[in-house]
C-alpha cells in the first residue's frame, strides 16, 4: 500500500461524519449579520400589514368604522371579517380540528384578538391606521378559570358551537367543553387505588407560558397575478403543511403556492401553527397586487400566538409500603383558550400526555383529559417538547416526590426500585406506548455518583439542623428527575396532522465531481441541520460533510415533509437521510462492481469506497463512482446518482435522562442560587456532541425560565399581565448557571442510525429538576406541593406559610 495514502482512521475523520464535533456551516452568515430572516426580505412595492386588536377578553363587536383609518396617509386598505366572509376566510381551521376566527366575527374571545387588518405603505403608516380604526365593543362576562368555565351558569364562549354536542374528538359535555380523551383502564386503576397500601394524591398545575423565540412570527405574501402563483415567506416550522392548509382553505391549487421558510430565529413550537396574520397578508396581497409583510411585535407574540401548557393535573399514585408503585390515575383539565389551536397529531388531542407513567414500571394506569374553552389566547403548542410530554414528565416526577414524602422514603431510591429494567425493553406501558429501548438504572447510578448524592443528603440534613438552630437562613434543595421522552412523531398509522401522515423525507443528488446536495422536509430554527444532516450522510455515502449542502424550507424544491418540532427531525428526517444515502450506496455498489469488473456481491463498503473482497488494493471511491455515474454507459443502470426516501418510522423514539439540580434558597428573600446542575442525556447515537451539548444548555435555560419565573398570567378581567419582556421572564447570562453535561448511549433499535433526538429533552427533564429542587429544600418543613413558577415572591410565600419567618 502507498505510504502516502491516508489511513482508514484518517479517512473516517476526514468525512466529519457521525460523532464529529464538526463546526457549524451556518455560523459564518449569522456571526456577520448576513442571515436572511423574514423581516430582512424586501420586495419591490412591498406593503406592510398590522392588526387592530381587542382590548377586551370577551366582548361583542357591535360596529367597526374604518373611514378615518382609510384617510390616514399611506393606508391602502382595512380588512374586517365582512371582507373575508365572501372568500370563506373569516374563519380558518386549526391544527386541532377546531376553527378559529381570522378576524373578529361578531365577538372577541381573548384580549389581543385580531379585529381588523390595516394595509399601508410602511409600518408606521400601518400603526397610524390601526389607531384610527374605531371599534364599538359591548363587554361580556369573562371566564379565565377552566373550572369555572365548566359551571352550569358559565357564559357561552363559543356561540358558533351552540347546540353542537359532538366535537372533533368526540362528545362535548358542556357548552365550554371541547373534548374528553382517555387512555388506560379506568376500573382496574380504581380497584388498585381502592386496595392499595399507600395512595398519594395531589393537584399538579403546570402553568401557562409561551415559547417566545427571539424572532417573533411573521410573513411576506406575494401574489403574482400574471402567473397565478402565491409565494409566502414566513417563520414556518412546517412549510409543506402550511402550503397544504393554504391550498385547502383558499382554493388555490397547491402547485401554485410556494412556501419558503428562510432563516428562522428560534421556534420552540411557536411557529408550527397557522395564524391570522398569514391569511390576512395573503388576502391583502391578492387584493392589492403587491407583496405584503406582516411581522408581530413582542406584545402581539406573547398575547396572541401560541401559548403553551396550562394543564391542571389531578393525580393519584398507589404503592406498596415498600414503595413499589402499583397504579397511577390522572385527570387533567386542559385550558385551551378561546379556540382549540393545539398542534397535536389528530388522534391525540392531549398530545402524548399518556407518556405520564414516565420511566416507571407501573402495571395499571388511567388518564383522562378534558379540554376547556376560556377567554384566553388560543394555542397549547409544544414549547420545546414533543406534544404535551413536558406536562406528562412534570406530573409523574412531582407525583414520585409526593409519594416519597408519603412513604417517608428517599426519592432517588423510590425511583430506582420502580424503573423499567433494561431487560424489559421493548416495554409496553399501561397507557399504550411501546418504549423502544432504555437503560435507566445505569444512567441513574452514574448521575447520583457524579454529584455525590449521599454526601449531598448529609449536607442537606446538617443544613436543616443548622437552620433550626438559627445559624443559617439558607436551605439546600436537591432536585431529582429521571425523564423519558417520546419523540419522532410519527408512524403514519397513528400520527397525522389534518390528515397528513407524519413521515418525513430526504432527496439527495450527487454531483459529478463528488459533492452533493440533500433536501429535506424539515426546517432548522437553530438546531444546525445543515451541519448535522450532512454528517449523517457523510457516514452513509463516504463523501465529506464539507462537500454536502443541506437545503430545507422551500416547498418548490424540498420533498414533502411535516417539518421540525417535537424533536422529530433526527428521528424521522434523519432516518430518511440515512435511508436515501443507503439507496445511493446500493446503486454505487453496482457501478463500482461494473468498474472493477466483478460481481456486485464481490465488493464491500469501506468508509468512502467499495473494495473488492479480499483485495483492498482494488477499490473505487464514492467520488470516482459519482463521476462514472455521469459519464459511463453502464448496461442496465440509469445515468446519474440520486435518491429520495420518504421515511415512515415504525415507532417513536424514547430518549431519556437523569438530571440533578442542587439549589440554595434564601428563606427571607425567596431568592435562589443554582449551585450545580448535572444533566445526563441518552439520545441514542450521538451525531454531533458539540451541538448536543448546545441543545442541552439551551433547553435547560428554557426550563429554568419556566420553573423559576416565566408565565403568561391573566387577571380576572382577562387582561394579560405579562405581555412584554419586562414582565415575561427570560433569564439573562447573569441568572443562568453553568451546566455539567454527560451521557450514556442506548441506540434506538429501529432507527437506521440509532439516533433518538435531543433538542427537547432538557426542557422536559429540566422543569421538574428545578421545581423538585425548590420543593425538596422545604420537604423537611412539610411542603408537599406548590405551583410553578417559583419566582422569589412565591418562594418567599412558601417559607412564610411554613412558619419559617419566625
Amino acid at each position: 500500500m502507498n505510504d502516502m495514502a491516508p489511513s482508514r482512521e484518517e479517512r473516517i475523520e476526514g468525512l466529519k461524519g457521525l460523532g464529529s464535533s464538526r463546526k457549524r456551516v451556518e455560523d459564518a452568515r449569522f456571526t456577520q449579520g448576513k442571515g436572511n430572516y423574514v423581516d430582512d426580505i424586501k420586495l419591490p412595492g412591498m406593503l406592510f400589514g398590522d392588526f387592530v386588536r381587542s382590548p377586551f377578553a370577551h366582548a361583542r363587536v357591535k360596529a367597526i368604522n374604518t373611514e378615518a383609518a382609510m384617510s390616514v396617509p399611506g393606508v391602502l386598505a382595512v380588512l374586517t371579517a365582512k371582507d373575508l366572509e365572501p372568500l370563506g376566510l373569516h374563519w380558518m381551521p386549526t391544527l386541532a380540528g377546531d376553527k378559529q376566527m381570522v378576524l373578529a366575527d361578531g365577538k372577541v374571545l381573548f384580549q389581543g384578538q385580531e379585529v381588523a387588518y390595516v394595509v399601508a405603505t410602511d409600518r408606521y403608516a400601518a400603526a397610524d391606521g390601526c389607531e384610527a380604526v374605531e371599534v364599538e365593543y359591548e363587554e361580556l362576562p369573562v371566564v379565565v378559570d377552566p373550572f369555572k368555565a365548566l359551571e352550569d351558569d358559565a357564559p357561552v364562549l363559543r356561540e358558533d358551537l351552540e347546540g353542537k354536542m359532538e366535537g372533533a374528538h368526540g362528545p362535548r359535555k358542556h357548552h365550554n367543553h371541547i373534548f374528553t380523551w382517555e387512555a388506560g383502564e379506568k376500573e382496574a386503576t380504581e380497584q388498585v387505588l381502592g386496595s392499595a397500601e399507600v395512595v398519594a394524591e395531589e393537584m399538579v398545575y403546570y402553568h401557562r407560558t409561551h415559547p417566545c423565540p427571539l424572532e417573533p412570527c411573521g410573513c411576506v405574501a406575494s401574489m403574482d397575478k400574471v402567473n397565478g402563483k402565491l409565494t409566502i415567506w414566513g417563520t414556518f416550522q412546517a412549510p409543506h403543511a402550511i402550503r397544504t392548509v393554504v391550498s385547502l382553505i383558499s382554493g388555490i391549487e397547491e402547485h401554485n403556492i410556494r412556501v419558503i421558510s428562510p432563516d428562522i430565529g428560534g421556534g420552540f413550537g411557536n411557529k408550527v401553527g397557522a395564524y391570522p396574520g398569514y391569511i390576512c397578508s395573503a388576502v391583502a396581497s391578492i387584493v392589492t397586487g403587491k407583496p405584503v409583510k406582516w411581522i408581530e411585535d413582542r406584545m402581539d407574540n406573547l398575547m396572541t400566538t401560541a401559548f403553551a401548557r396550562d394543564y391542571w393535573m389531578k393525580g393519584k399514585i398507589a404503592a406498596t409500603k415498600e414503595g413499589k408503585i402499583t397504579g397511577l390515575w390522572c385527570h387533567t383539565t386542559a385550558d385551551h383558550g378561546g379556540f382549540d389551536a393545539c398542534a397535536d397529531p389528530t388522534k391525540f388531542p392531549a398530545g402524548f400526555m399518556n407518556i405520564c407513567t414516565g420511566s416507571y414500571d407501573i402495571p395499571t394506569a388511567y388518564l383522562a383529559v378534558d379540554g376547556v374553552y376560556t377567554n384566553k389566547a388560543p394555542g397549547g403548542v409544544a414549547y420545546r417538547c414533543s406534544f404535551r410530554v413536558t406536562e406528562a414528565a412534570y406530573f409523574i416526577e412531582r407525583m414520585i416526590e409526593v409519594l416519597a414524602i408519603e412513604l417517608g422514603m428517599d426519592a432517588a431510591e423510590l425511583r430506582r426500585i420502580n424503573f423499567i429494567k433494561k431487560e424489559q425493553f421493548p416495554y409496553q406501558s399501561a397507557l399504550g406506548w411501546e418504549y423502544d429501548s432504555g437503560d435507566y438504572h445505569t444512567a441513574w447510578d452514574k448521575a447520583l455518583d457524579a454529584v455525590g448524592y449521599d454526601e449531598l443528603r448529609k449536607e442537606q440534613a446538617e443544613r436543616v439542623e443548622a437552620f433550626k438552630r438559627g445559624e443559617t437562613r439558607k436551605l439546600l434543595g436537591i432536585g431529582l428527575t429521571h425523564f423519558t421522552e417520546i419523540v419522532g412523531a410519527g408512524p403514519v398509522k397513528n400520527c397525522d396532522i389534518l390528515g397528513l401522515g407524519m413521515f418525513d423525507s430526504c432527496e439527495i443528488r450527487i454531483h459529478p465531481t463528488g459533492s452533493a446536495i440533500a433536501r429535506l422536509g424539515t426546517i432548522s430554527q437553530g438546531q444546525g441541520h445543515a451541519t448535522t444532516f450532512a454528517q449523517i450522510l457523510a457516514s452513509e455515502i463516504g463523501l465529506p460533510a464539507d462537500s454536502i449542502t443541506v437545503e430545507e424550507g422551500d416547498t418548490d424544491t424540498a420533498p414533502y415533509g411535516l417539518g421540525t418540532y417535537g424533536s422529530r427531525s433526527t428521528p424521522v428526517a434523519g432516518a430518511a437521510t440515512a435511508m436515501a444515502g443507503r439507496k445511493i450506496r446500493a446503486k454505487a455498489q453496482m457501478i463500482a462492481a461494473y468498474l472493477l469488473e466483478v460481481h456486485d456481491d464481490d465488493v464491500e463498503w469501506d468508509v468512502d469506497r467499495f473494495v473488492v473482497k479480499g483485495n483492498p488494493e482494488r477499490f473505487k471511491t464514492m467520488k470516482e463512482i459519482a463521476f462514472a455515474s455521469y459519464n459511463q454507459a453502464i448496461p442496465g443502470i440509469e445515468p446519474g446518482l440520486e435518491a429520495v426516501s420518504y421515511y415512515d418510522p415504525p415507532n417513536m423514539t424514547y430518549p431519556f435522562g437523569a438530571y440533578i439540580c442542587v439549589m440554595e434558597i434564601d428563606v427571607d428573600t425567596g431568592t435562589h442560587e443554582i449551585r450545580q446542575f448535572y444533566a445526563l442525556d441518552d439520545c441514542g447515537t450521538r451525531i454531533n456532541p458539540m451541538i448536543i451539548e448546545g441543545q442541552v444548555h439551551g433547553g435547560l435555560t428554557e426550563a429554568l425560565a419556566i420553573a423559576m419565573g416565566q408565565e403568561i398570567a391573566y387577571d380576572e378581567m382577562g387582561n394579560v399581565k405579562t405581555g412584554t419582556l419586562m414582565d415575561f421572564f427570560i433569564p439573562t447570562a447573569w441568572e443562568t448557571p453553568n451546566y455539567t453535561t454527560d451521557y450514556t448511549t442506548t441506540p434506538s433499535p429501529h432507527h437506521p442510525i440509532g439516533a433518538k433526538g435531543v433538542g427537547e429533552s432538557p426542557n422536559v427533564g429540566g422543569v421538574p429538576a428545578f421545581s423538585n429542587a425548590v420543593h425538596d429544600a422545604f420537604r423537611a418543613f412539610g411542603l408537599r406541593q406548590s405551583h410553578m413558577p417559583h419566582d422569589h415572591w412565591r418562594i418567599w410565600k412558601i417559607a412564610n406559610s411554613l412558619g419559617l419567618h419566625g
Binding site: G35, Y37, G526, G694, T701, L725, M726
Partner: protein, 163 residues
C-alpha cells in the same frame, strides 16, 4: 408628519437619510440602509438583538430615534469584520458554538466587542454581568461566555505579541 434630512455616520461612511422625527434608528438601519444584521426582538429595549455601537457605547437601536444620532459614529455588526477578515469574536463564537438560531448573535457580538474595550481582561462574572442586556433563547449563554472569554484571551495575546 414630514420627513427630515439627517446625516448619520455608519460603519465609517456618512449616509444621508430622510426620516420622520419619530423613526427609530433600527428601522433606518434595516430598511433604508439595508443593514439587516441588527434585529428586532422586543421593541422595548429588553432583548438587545438590535444592539449597535454609538460613539463608543452599546445602544439598543430600537429605542433611539434616528433624529438623535445625527452626527454620531455608529457601528453595526456589518462594520466589525469582513468575510475575508472576520473579527476574532466572530471566529470564537463559531469555534465555541456560541450561537444557534443566530438571531441574537449580531447584537451579542456587537455588545461583546464594546465590553472587551471597556474591560479587556474580564472574569466570567464580568462577562455574564456585562452581557446581561442581551437575551438569547437558544444557547443558555454558557458557550457565549466561553466564546467571549476566548476572544479576550486571543486579543490580549496578539496585543502582547505586537508589543
Amino acid at each position: 408628519m414630514g420627513k427630515q434630512h439627517y446625516q448619520i455616520n455608519v460603519n465609517g461612511e456618512t449616509k444621508d437619510v430622510l426620516a420622520e422625527p419619530r423613526e427609530l434608528l433600527i428601522h433606518t438601519l434595516r430598511e433604508q440602509l439595508d443593514l439587516t444584521g441588527p434585529h428586532i426582538g422586543c421593541e422595548t429595549s429588553h432583548c438587545g438583538a438590535c444592539t449597535v455601537d454609538i460613539d463608543g457605547k452599546s445602544v439598543k437601536s430600537c429605542t433611539v430615534f434616528t433624529a438623535q444620532v445625527a452626527g454620531k459614529e455608529i457601528t453595526t455588526i456589518e462594520g466589525l469584520g469582513t468575510p475575508d477578515e472576520m473579527h476574532v469574536l466572530q471566529e470564537k463564537f463559531r469555534e465555541h458554538h456560541g450561537l444557534q438560531c443566530g438571531y441574537c448573535t449580531p447584537g451579542m457580538i456587537t455588545r461583546a466587542h464594546r465590553l472587551l474595550q471597556e474591560n479587556p481582561n474580564p472574569t466570567e462574572e464580568d462577562v455574564r454581568f456585562g452581557m446581561s442586556g442581551n437575551l438569547c433563547r437558544c444557547t443558555g449563554y454558557q458557550n457565549i461566555v466561553k466564546s467571549i472569554l476566548a476572544a479576550a484571551a486571543e486579543m490580549n495575546a496578539s496585543k502582547e505579541a505586537a508589543e
